[in-house]
Amino acid sequence: MKRSAALLSALTFACSPAARDTATSSEPANTSSSSAPESKYFSSPPRSAVPSGPQGESVRRGEAIFRETPRFASDFVGNGLSCRNCHLDDGRKANSGPLWAAWGMYPAYRKKNGHVNTMDERLRGCFTYSMNASASKQGHAPPPNDPILVDLQAYMAWLSKGISQGADYPGRGYPTLPKPAQKPSRERGKALYATSCALCHGADGQGTKLGSGDYVFPPLWGPDSYNWGAGMHRINTAAGFIKANMPYGKGGTLTNQEAWDVALFINSHERPKDPRGKGNLADTDAKYHDENCTFGDEVDGRALGQGLPAKRSLAKR
């Protein structure tokens, strides 16, 4: 098989309860590592330290998959997203779902599927929801122990060199934002989106592509975005990500209220369907969706959550 691929993605934490649904325990041991001595966050080894030989090659393949998932895991990606869209700095950035904070927490029980998940399974979840694998060429996430998943885990393990197993590191996941003073508002979110987000993500939320078809800025809703089962469709999760990381280079500049408002606006649009839903909208809503998402809500006269047909444009490479 070709270069493998796929990803880890982004949007990881799923739709059910909170962004971090693994049980947490101990305090972080050391926040150490190489350079950047004043940082309060763990820091991964520098890229230049990737070893040569088969181990290092797997790490490098994993990094490539992480950076350009639709290219290197094309068989299993059904939308336009790459892992690094939601895990900034290729999985290194604190408060952006850093891989080094997740690696030592697995195997872990997840409420989302009601059993203990290995990292391999966890990554498959990223494909299923955040990369909408059901619309991919293969129509499903990479099978267990697929080379794509192996390479991604080699990359994660390398970024996590020196961590303490089971430690809850600062900067893990996305920050949990307190509920805003005012109920989140689509209208305010829409106005903020136009001034602060549309420049890159497009006025219509469909991202920005090059002539090659590659996305430079990811689509936030519509057929090429994450599906209704991805963690990012949850307003609280998206608000935490946005507050800490958006716009690029200006993390932390939006108020909590603004982050909630714009997260609500972004997640009040149609996107690919929740692959867990077998029956009607109301059943899926009751079984898998809670107050932190708009699934089943009526917006512009239409109930959200019905899904969108896949755009096959991506499959061309």
Binding site: A36, S39, S43, R47, L88, D89, D90, R92, K93, S196, L199, C200, T208, L210, G211, D214, V216, F217, P247, Y248, G249, K250, G251
Partner: protein
């Protein structure tokens, strides 16, 4: 049911008329565009005799800019981006001893025409990159320095600096002295007006060495000559 011959003829006439207007419109548009490009070309090569010298004096006949100088490459830049930059010179959001008076002498029509003209040009990369800085620049361009909120340059300017129109200009083949000088101007506040103040915020975090390295890397990249 059939129509009377007269009615048919009447309809044909109307259809013909519509077609003629459409052709006139298309031809008219094409003429307007030709006129604009002709005006742009004239400005580029001769100036306007009202204070705007010929653009090619500094930006080169083919719009590739001048090797070793801080006169930027304009060929292949997005037309709307170029026009915005001229407006910024006119509005003093950008300042340059040579460019400011030229921009001030352009009418809105000339501004649009010359932007369109350079946007349509294609030229080889004539930038000179400091080879010893390229690797460090590539690292910054592809990975950024997120511990200081510096995103990878390519996350907005596109892979290999191809640019993402209309707001993020191509950097491939741009002259390193120019890029470095602009980054310094953003850092000092001398240049402003860009969307969301993104570039000034990022430049403020960059060191001099990083500016030089990033500029060298982008200067070393091939430009698309036939887009």
């Amino acid at each position: 049911m059939s129509h009377s011959p007269t009615r048919v003829r009447w309809r044909q006439l109307v259809a013909l008329g519509a077609l003629a207007s459409l052709v006139a419109l298309v031809v008219g548009r094409a003429h307007a565009e030709e006129d604009r490009l002709a005006l742009g070309k004239k400005l580029a090569n001769e100036g306007n005799k009202r204070g705007a010298v010929a653009c090619k004096t500094c930006h080169g006949e083919d719009g590739a800019g001048m090797a070793g100088s801080n006169f930027p490459r304009l060929a292949g830049q997005d037309a709307a981006y170029l026009e915005t930059q001229i407006k910024h010179f006119q509005g003093k959001l950008r300042r340059n001893d040579l460019m400011s008076p030229v921009a001030a002498a352009l009418t809105p029509e000339e501004r649009a025409a010359v932007s369109e003209y350079y946007s349509a040009l294609r030229a080889k990369n004539n930038a000179v990159a400091n080879a010893s800085l390229i690797a460090r620049g590539k690292e910054l361009a592809e990975h950024g320095a997120w511990d200081r909120e510096i995103p990878p340059c390519e996350s907005c300017h596109g892979p290999a600096g191809v640019g993402v129109a209309p707001s993020f200009p191509p950097l491939a083949g741009q002259h390193p002295r120019y890029v470095e000088e602009q980054l310094q101007k953003w850092k000092s506040g001398e240049r402003s007006g860009e969307p969301l103040e993104l570039m000034s915020g990022i430049a403020a975090q960059m060191t001099q060495a990083e500016m030089q390295a990033a500029a060298a890397y982008f200067a070393s990249l091939p430009v698309e000559e036939t887009r």
